[in-house]
Amino acid sequence: MSDLNSQMADRYKNNFLKEIEEQAEMGEWVKMCMQCGLCSGSCPTNFHSGWDHPPQEIFMMIRAGKREEVLNANGMYMCTSCYNCYVRCPRKVPVTHVMHGIAEYAYKIGRAPKNQPTMHLSKTFWTNATKYGRVNEVQLTQSLYFKDGIAAGIKKGLEMKDVALGLVKAGRLNPLEALGMGHKCKDVNGIRKMLAKAYELEAKRKGRSA
């Protein structure tokens, strides 16, 4: 992964804007930002501590060539996909998708912050959903609780006990899913082959094959 990072740094030399435009989904929109800050002011998670750079800062940093700071930033993972920034941007920049795109690129070249909880959820969710074509909610929850080890997982499970019991009682959580008895697509094989081809084509298209 880190090899891919230096490969990309070499390929784009000092043109980080070009790198983002070509590599990040919707990255070609970055140059349209006029720094009004409406995206950051509209972001529901901007009012919590713990994030470094809101969208308009990220966009300016990209244009200023601050490659390290952008790729290491945690701001992208604060996104709840609420699309406030997207619909309010006066330049019609699809801010939500640009932030997702930068996050994806940083992660794929091995630069995403380690143990970032929403980054971890992104990975876990997609892996879970594509394994059998449909989400297994119980296994998804388990893998989130146990991401920091068994002891932390049990503690978290106990904290969440009442939430889980409420759902079981209401028939909205099936404990048997933990054993893999969840919902599945019939053509799991076809889905796997289809996705393998999609990964291959995307890597080829973006010149990311290491």
Binding site: E25, P44, T45, H48, Y77, M78, T80, S81, C82, Y83, N84, Y86, V87, R88, T96, H100, G101, A103, E104, K108, A112, P117, T118, M119, L121, S122, K123, F125, W126, T127, A129, T130, G133, R134, V135, E137, L144, V163, G166, L167, K169, A170, G171, R172, N174, E177, H183, K186, G190, I191, K193, M194, L195, A196, K197, A198, Y199, L201, E202, R205
Partner: protein, 298 residues
């Protein structure tokens, strides 16, 4: 033949035993009354949801939605795809737009679909259940079967994000959409005015960073209470779950005493159409809607 027919995309959360299974129960009852036939897309798969962005990448995400398009098109030709989940609708509709906009993405998608023995000719329209109700039937038609109006009950219509942004319901504003209030009024309820109608519930961050999501959920519930709502109503499975199931944790964290039921619009409609508590999926609510349970029993 039913009055309207659609290719139904229920999505992962609406399956039996999953977190929004009571949404499905009430949608089925509502559609039966309205004479809408929903045929499940055979072997449909997950839309990828919003949060998979970092792991999934671009093409794989669109390919997952494209598989559903191909299955709908070949098995249920000529029918619009209808999703009940806000995220399924958004994900699928976004993929449709992106594929129709880019020949390159479409060509790559077709190549990937070939691996599963599928291909796309024309991508069907992708619509949300609420659009079907409002646009294909209209408020007047929705009012006709009302047998038991929800008189005197006060609801906070919580629209949230993904049925509202970025696409939204045609003709509605992003900042103050009125369709949910109108649906509440159509079945005889009162839609209270409150200021958190389109606030985000935290979405997937309710799992990954609960303290952030719960701060937002607290604002939504508080505002609903402050403006006299007895219950909250929503069109989105994740809004419903987030606003409902964490009330106990929020009470612990903030010393509040939240205990407010969170319903789906389809549950209200089922009850107003004379359906039972079971047909409305009221037994699936974690915070029991006692007032509605009594109402259904009358």
């Amino acid at each position: 033949m039913a009055r309207k027919e659609y290719a139904f995309y229920p999505g992962c959360s609406s399956q039996k035993g999953a977190s929004a299974s009571n949404y499905l129960v009430s949608v089925e009852s509502m559609c039966k009354t309205l004479d809408i036939k929903m045929t499940e897309i055979p072997d449909w798969n997950c839309c990828g949801a919003s949060v998979s962005y970092a792991e999934a990448g671009e093409l794989p995400r669109h390919v997952m939605n494209a598989r559903n398009f191909a299955l709908a098109e070949s098995n249920l030709p000529g029918q619009d795809i209808v999703a009940t989940c806000a995220a399924c609708w958004l994900g699928a509709r976004e993929s449709k737009e992106r594929l129709e906009h880019s020949d390159r993405l479409m060509a790559d998608t077709q190549e990937a679909l070939k691996e599963a023995g599928l291909n796309i000719k024309v991508i069907p329209e992708v619509r949300h259940m609420v659009e079907v109700l409002i646009e294909d039937l209209g408020y007047d038609e929705l009012k006709k079967p009302v047998k038991k109006p929800l008189d005197g009950m006060k609801f906070a219509g919580y629209v949230g994000c993904q049925t509202n942004r970025p696409f939204g319901i045609a003709g509605e504003s992003f900042e103050n959409p009125m369709y949910l209030d109108k649906l509440i009024e159509t079945v005889g309820g009162e839609a209270v005015k409150y200021d958190q109608k389109v606030t985000c519930c935290g979405g997937a961050l309710a799992f990954s960073e609960p303290e952030k999501a719960q701060a937002q959920i607290k604002d939504i519930i508080e505002s609903a209470y402050d403006n006299g709502a007895e219950m909250i109503v929503t069109p989105c499975p994740l809004c419903q779950a987030n606003v409902e199931v964490y009330q106990g944790q929020i009470n612990k964290r903030y010393g509040t005493k939240f205990d407010i039921p969170v319903l789906y619009y389809s549950q209200l409609m089922t009850l107003a159409y004379g359906g039972s508590a079971k047909e409305a999926g009221l037994n699936g609510n974690v915070v029991r809607a006692r007032k509605l349970e009594e109402f259904a029993g009358k």
